[in-house]
Symmetry: none
Subunit: 397 residues, 2 copies
């Protein structure tokens, strides 16, 4: 709740954008708690924040746990922040009890998971995992034209002398705690979700091009109306793709119409498509079908598709899943295996080291809104499971 | 071409929005030409611009001719500007020859015909004809929230001391010259169009309301996706209304999607529908059918329709049509009677006094685009016919 005050809105939500003054203040807050617990802090060139409990073997790859401190524009108090603070709490408890782990145990806050100020998101984990180069990430701009590079330099300048860890250094394991952002745990009255993987996703930009014309004089038969073509394409997509099976998620969230004037036939429509499915072969097939439908229904306009994201479903480390399930059982928390419908930094870490996620329920399954809420007993249950699993991974030999 | 430089775009088009700094500059330009010709200038409370050639009988209702100086965004050089400058040229020619008309002959530029910055358009002629109150018109806002009232006050402040004519003062006749904005004159190789009337038009705003949701987690069956409902509604309208018969014109030119974020299911879509048909009973029937289709295809979202314009086809004064036809014949210009597919200020003037319109061809029939073009010989032919007819209406006794 203290962290939620930083960027807190009058309606109880949080607006704490990546690399903003609010995020810098959130770093100060987290670093203050870390130093109170005699933990060390560091960063890297991608603006990730690390809190370190030193282990006995400095050659062994460290174990990481965390999430992110940035939020959506009218976001909530738990998305991201929970995973960072749960990991910090685990380190604090171990440090207070004088536990010296067999290798470094590190809490992490990844830079710009949400992607709302600088798109696309997950920049910190992508840079760490080598999915995108730092140069590419530094070149991205926010709505005011400010680059990630400049904002990153400002962040680092706010913390002079902070040690820097190398990007992509080997890791022993990664564990992320997070609110579910969906209704399953609440509906089934479970306290802990063992996340089996992250649902596959394709994001595309589709541009329809036609010709402008006067709404009163241009004959319908002579028109190349880009919005009419959009309506045909979208109707076909909602029906054939969106109704394909109960697991598919198909969304056109963003649309741009030009010239968008009441009495002019539109000549350009650009839409952003978000397509998700847990089964990779189905996702691939639907993505291919989507292209066919766009081409077929665009006539007499022209259509062009640009893939932005093509991320198949991934499967989290099965041994870590077992450890989470066992810990939940031993601590008496009813649990459930489930796929994450939303994306998380853990997707990218999974390419570097054994990775997994722990979900806790959120009220009504809602997230990215000011009403986002998790019950205190669920918050502590998730942290207890995290402590239990992390302790097994770094237990002194 | 001088006027087209004001708000001129690099691609040869014109972007001169109603009550903008560019329109104020256009006023200065036209007023400069008027004063060079010893003509008087005035305005009224609705921001219409009048250039006056004083007549001998100040009690006789004046004869008006003109059009408008505002353009669509990405508009052309002739739409509106031609009618204002043709009328100004007639006044200039008569003044240069020392003609003292039997009553005032006035060139007019009506405020905001296009309706692209402040919707809906034809505000100046509507205020003059009493179709809408000045209060209602002053309350309309542009995309930045600026009211017509404030913009009008800025316009008037830019020309302190400019005399004001009373809104709605009686008129003897109104004549408007304009490019056709359609392909008929060019296709049939005619130089002058005698406009018989203006095609009927209905304009509606349709609002679709659903619920927001996370694109990755909310099941398709649980969604109330406002953009999906729009796609269903629009597809049905394009098919049933737009393809009804070869004379119908159906356009969705303006669309607003909220929150318009890539990974959020949209909860609100507002569209602007423009429906035109020369036959009034067909127009009425299509308007009723449109409402049924919106309601049927909105489910599970809610839909609300707000009629903005419901204007049946009108018939211009038959005596004025005869005068135009005779003038064209005597001057040797091949002519044709035709219905205007586009709306014009003359529609509203027709309720106050005998009114008519003169069309000239435009290249390819295209308008509201930067390529809009009229041949110089057609431009002067239309002005010659206008001079001939206006002279008969104000000939010294």
């Amino acid at each position: 709740m203290t962290l939620a005050d930083i960027g807190g809105t009058s309606s109880g939500g949080v607006d704490r954008q990546a690399l903003s003054a609010e995020e810098i203040e959130a770093w100060r807050c987290v670093m203050g708690w870390a130093r109170e617990a005699d933990l060390q802090v560091a960063t890297d060139d991608a603006g990730n924040l690390f809190v370190i409990l030193r282990g006995s073997d400095q050659k062994a790859p460290p174990v990481l746990s965390g999430s992110h401190l940035d939020t959506q524009p009218g976001g909530g108090r738990f998305d991201g922040a929970y995973g960072v603070l749960a990991a910090l709490e685990v380190l604090t408890v171990l440090a207070e009890r004088g536990v010296k782990p067999c290798r470094d145990l590190i809490a992490v806050a990844w830079m710009n998971e949400e992607g709302s100020r600088f798109a696309p998101g997950m920049m910190g984990s992508e840079a760490y995992a080598g999915v995108r180069t730092l140069e590419e990430i530094r070149a991205a701009r926010d709505a005011t034209g400010m680059t990630v590079g400049k904002a990153l330099d400002q962040l680092h300048a706010a913390f002079p002398g902070l040690p820097r860890r190398p990007l992509g250094a080997p890791l022993g394991a990664y564990l992320e705690a997070h609110i579910e952002q969906g209704p399953v745990l609440e509906a089934q009255r479970r306290v802990v979700g063992i996340v089996t993987g992250i649902q596959g996703k394709q994001t595309l930009e589709v541009e329809v091009r036609g010709d402008k014309g006067h709404a009163g004089t241009l004959a319908m038969s002579a028109r190349r109306d880009a919005l009419a073509a959009f309506a045909r394409i979208a109707s076909a997509l909602y029906t054939e793709i969106g109704d394909h099976d109960p697991q598919v998620k198909f969304t056109i969230g963003h649309l741009c119409v030009e010239p968008n004037a009441p009495s002019i036939v539109p000549d350009r429509v650009v839409m952003r498509i978000d397509l998700r499915h847990p089964d990779n072969s189905t996702l691939t097939a639907l993505g291919a079908r989507l292209r066919v439908l766009c081409a077929r229904h665009a006539t007499p306009c022209q259509v062009q598709l640009m893939p932005l994201v093509d991320a198949p479903s991934n499967i989290f480390d099965t041994l870590l899943q077992e450890l989470i399930e066992t810990a939940a059982f031993r601590l008496g928390y009813p649990s459930l295996r489930l796929l994450s419908a939303a994306g998380h930094d853990a997707r990218h870490l999974a390419s570097l080291c054994p990775s997994a996620m722990i979900f806790i329920p959120c009220r009504g399954g809602v997230s990215h809104v000011q009403e986002e809420w998790a019950e205190p007993e669920h918050v502590s249950a998730g942290a207890n499971v995290l402590l239990n699993v992390l302790f097994q991974l770094v237990r002194p030999i």
